[in-house]
Subunit: 756 residues, 2 copies
Amino acid sequence: MSGIFFMIMVFDGLAQDTKKQLNWEVAYHKSEKGEIGKWMPATVPGAVQLDVMKAENYKQPYWFDDNVKQFDWMEDWFFTYRTHFKRPALGNGQRFYFRSKGIDYEFKIFLNGNQIHQQEGMFTYVDLDLTDALKENNEMKIMILPVRKIPAAAVYVPGTETYRQNARESAKPAVSYGWDWHPRLVIRGIWDETYLEVKDTTNLTTADVTYQLTDSLRTAEVQLALKGEKLSGASYKWIFKDKNGELVFEKTGVLSNDVENISGRLNNPSLWWPNGYGEPVLYHSEIILSDLKGRFLEKKEAKVGFRSVKMIMNEGEWEKKNVFPVTRNRAPASIEINGKRIFAKGSNWVHPEIFVGLITKETYEKQIQLAKEANFNMLRVWGGGIVNKEAFFDLCDEKGIMVWQEFPLACNNYTDKPKYLAVLEQEATAIINRLKTHACLAMWSGGNELFNSWSGMTEQSLALRLLNALCFRLDPKTPFIYTSPLYGMGHGSYVFYDKENVNGKEVFQWMPKSDKTAYTEFGIPGVASLDVLKKIIPASDLFPPKKGTAWETHHAFGAWGANRWLELPFLQEYFGEIKSIEKLVYYSQLSQAEGLKFIFEEARRQKPYCSMALNWCFQEPWPTAANNSLINWPNQTKPAYNQVANACRPVLASIRAARFLWNQGEDFSAELFMLNDTHEPLKATKVTATLVYDGGKEIILKEWDAKGSKAFENEKGPLIEVKLPLMKEQLFKIKVEVQGNPAYNSEYTLLCKNKS
Amino acid sequence: MSGIFFMIMVFDGLAQDTKKQLNWEVAYHKSEKGEIGKWMPATVPGAVQLDVMKAENYKQPYWFDDNVKQFDWMEDWFFTYRTHFKRPALGNGQRFYFRSKGIDYEFKIFLNGNQIHQQEGMFTYVDLDLTDALKENNEMKIMILPVRKIPAAAVYVPGTETYRQNARESAKPAVSYGWDWHPRLVIRGIWDETYLEVKDTTNLTTADVTYQLTDSLRTAEVQLALKGEKLSGASYKWIFKDKNGELVFEKTGVLSNDVENISGRLNNPSLWWPNGYGEPVLYHSEIILSDLKGRFLEKKEAKVGFRSVKMIMNEGEWEKKNVFPVTRNRAPASIEINGKRIFAKGSNWVHPEIFVGLITKETYEKQIQLAKEANFNMLRVWGGGIVNKEAFFDLCDEKGIMVWQEFPLACNNYTDKPKYLAVLEQEATAIINRLKTHACLAMWSGGNELFNSWSGMTEQSLALRLLNALCFRLDPKTPFIYTSPLYGMGHGSYVFYDKENVNGKEVFQWMPKSDKTAYTEFGIPGVASLDVLKKIIPASDLFPPKKGTAWETHHAFGAWGANRWLELPFLQEYFGEIKSIEKLVYYSQLSQAEGLKFIFEEARRQKPYCSMALNWCFQEPWPTAANNSLINWPNQTKPAYNQVANACRPVLASIRAARFLWNQGEDFSAELFMLNDTHEPLKATKVTATLVYDGGKEIILKEWDAKGSKAFENEKGPLIEVKLPLMKEQLFKIKVEVQGNPAYNSEYTLLCKNKS
């Protein structure tokens, strides 16, 4: 990442712009003008914590035991980056820019001792024309200010005081301040691509491709919004190529202004579809500027997916009977793409790496491939985390993953103060303009759980009204919601069995009684796999797990209530005394896998009223000992991942077992279903449910002649009722087989308690 | 209203601007270029329907029998107004303007045959500089286009097709298209003040006084936003006088731009309070412009009330227990003025006259005085009706009536089409800028019942997102809601007893079981008083009331369901066979009065959780035979008005009777309360409840030593339980007397059915 080099891009035989990477150092100091300590090598993009860790020989890795606490002292210190560079030889009309895609979070930039920029906000790209301030030898400094911390205070309900309230006057993602699966570690530094650039003659800063599909979806009215400097007089060529590289559109002309809109028409575009509903077709758009003599000036490329997106009312909601005094109907939560309802299946995305400066395209690529392979079509990018780098959205475009993008607000009562609103406006404007042309962008959301008591915001909060207004003005065609959950959506529960919050019912019992429009967060915790546990917990503390050890630092105890996320009392109540780390991992991961499978399938059984199932959460930014994630950091799937992938197949056989936990000899019951999320009908078939126990004994429970169903419709089958046999082993299975379509088969593991 | 005259206003000895009223004629024609019929005298402001009615000798009055149907044919015709005037003698720098505060609804303006303006929207003031287009003799024409009608269509639920859907691509108030208490009568024409004006030198168009109160409310940072033409070089004097006429602020200076903001500070301002909570103190602000020689140029005056307004969460809502899967908390519905919660009591305002061009300051004055005397502090200006003329807001400022102002959207799925959105943006911008400086303006609302199935809009509807964005940008300090009801608010019921919609319970039974944040619409119908009935129904049809007569034209039958609003089956079930028009009026009005009194008092008993009680509706724009209104058109109170006024006293004794309808000898029960909406505590007192029956017999039911209560708190008293005596008369009373405070006494009339 570091090291000086010049990159010359050659296009059509002409030298294009020149980008220069820089060599950076970093040092810390107690006050703005205070004495600067030792200069250390800095990795850019990266984080100041990592640079200090390397330079000052911290205990490593930072994720082991409680090593993460070594960073605590840094919050209140200034960090200054510096770099040196020579004035480049600039041709006639050439300009020299400093550009950064992200500096976290509040900073000042100095060139040769003079402050040239000041910014609060890590999502607004920095773009500075240095040309007129250059000397022969230049020193640039970027001073990162101390962490912005509003003293934690109980804003609404006593007892809810938490670290995250430090973030409530800041547009920095709140997760850094500590969460129930994230240590307090307020990262700072240059976190995305940062370089010097020589621009030749023109400076084309914006080339946004938008379009309006006709109602029939057969024609795309395409628009190209150009903005820049010295564009007047340049000739342009704008083309579209289809997925096979065939030219399908071309328009040429001469620009007469620095702001110009070019429009055209594309007939019969192939549409972009989310995963499971068709191909995510992308077109290649290219705008090339040339000068009067035909010499290349610059070009901008974009991938364009043609699709319409709406958020429409859930089926059946408008038809509900009104009883006076009547309140409003619930909020719509059903995504419609290209005129068809989509059942949104997926996860909450929390970003894949605690040090977001380390995230690369490869980081994203592996995880988005996993999302696709899990049959997901949506990721909710949770407002506690970052707005991801460009590669994330490119990959979601390519793989047909719809993105529910939240602004960086979560679980706080963000202030109405003008200073915060100004920063939020700047950041949100940058975010909207950067993402609005992506096909994957399915909806905007103000942030996480803002309309709940532990946050205390409402539709009167100015921050949310501002975000709504900005999205309306800059990107009106993309749905916007204030927060999740809205009225009718559900968050939780987050455990398999919870006396307090779901009235002592296990997930198999409460979920079928729920009637939410969309399950946009729900979770079951699972312990990390054994090799992950060994990487983070000293061998002597590995078993039995105890509070006050690395288990607690890694969220197995006290993360939320006393027993989250390890849930030992539940595991012991269900599975009996657990005598080894291997058994602990097995039972915890089994309950997570079967519980999540149940919720995903039940949400689908509640279709068409229900429209979404997004579990909490997909991955984790550092290795936890126990967590709701499907994937251990950095990239290791838990068994739940596979069961969720099964539950999200476009078509499958499914059972609604009345409980997970049974007793010997008891009357067992379950209902049979064929689930179909596709826009194709299902043919008639024969479905057989079989009980498998004690290592292979089988009892056929039901043979069902399914009639088939219409597109996007499930078919409900018969009730299975059987007296459970006496079993020796406490786990048993129900397998459901579909004649002629083994890909639709399902299997469920359930628990039978031995009589004492 | 008509006739030519010149009005010269004299100020400080100097001639001010000159306004000229015009003489208008009107004619109709079938097409835009079609043959124009006879020119008729036109009253301005007024309505084309009224001009034709007078000129063509229609049956009058229009409200009698079915005379209103005479106007039906006009919807599809063009109407053109014309006027003639001479070029005035203009001094150096003087300009000559045509100004209108409202032309309804879509129109083109021609001067000497040339189109000089085109507009859709009746709320955007027309302001045209004619100077350069003047001839010696001038003819101005205003062509009103035919009624904009989108074919009625069932948008969501089959069977809901109604006339009002004609309005769903229009910013014209939908009520004209027909409602359950309003005939279809799509009024058109010049409906507000319209004149020619000579402006001397400067043209000051905007002088908005705004302020920011400090958190302590002890200081007002005042701002004056000036906009105009040729202001540069003018000197200004800006003053505030308090309610006694004392000068409390003065600032002078010289303007250097046509857009300028002047700021200052006012210490210890007396605050504006809503009726019942203090005095609605208004300051007088005056900005005077003079030229370099000290000669008067122009001035703008304003009344300024200093108050803060917020919409905050209802007490207890944040503390509700969360059960997973948890959805959002309810929307806030509690108005806070100057840091104190206000219990909002009032009515839904539907405008006082069907022909809104006839509304004058006097029309408003009588009704707003009635609202004040009813102890009201809020009027919800319903989105189906007009945004009122300036006098309305001036009067609400003066009388301490908070205004909940809706935009002109009601019970429709207003389109996302760009043309409608552009008109709505223009109209809403004009409305917001006109009203935002009024102290009475307590909240904005997108419109009526838009998030309910019979409308079909949601937070995704672009019209509502547009209105939110505009209010946020132009008036962020005033609360904004998308619609009523929001989540937690309640609309309905609208009858005393309703098998279908409230499960066959009378209002005394369902209302105590309800737990809404705010009751923003509820009604009980009452027949009009006898003299009103005689004005609208031919004598031969007066009794018994029948469908197909003027009773039906005036909404007594089939207005909504078969029996609305006369409710004959209910009246006969409760009161027995009704043998005269006098008895019909008496029982209907009694049930309305006692029912509404119960709802208002019950909403207050549900304080502090409940925050509002606004009945449907205050008045009516034409005389109905039966309706939920408290006031018959034009200005005659029904008995319900008096009972509602009683129920809205700041402090009163109250009972929660278990039912309205009792049987002889039955066990009667009621709970006693002292209700206190003030910010003063209540002292201990003795409260006595007495049963009064058969023309004066009394039984003391309960003597309660009330302990008193804190500010804004009710006190709950004991339960009254008694076996009802045998009675000869079917009506009996409970009177509740408060020792030492007869103003707090209450009396309730209840019904005891004789055994058959």
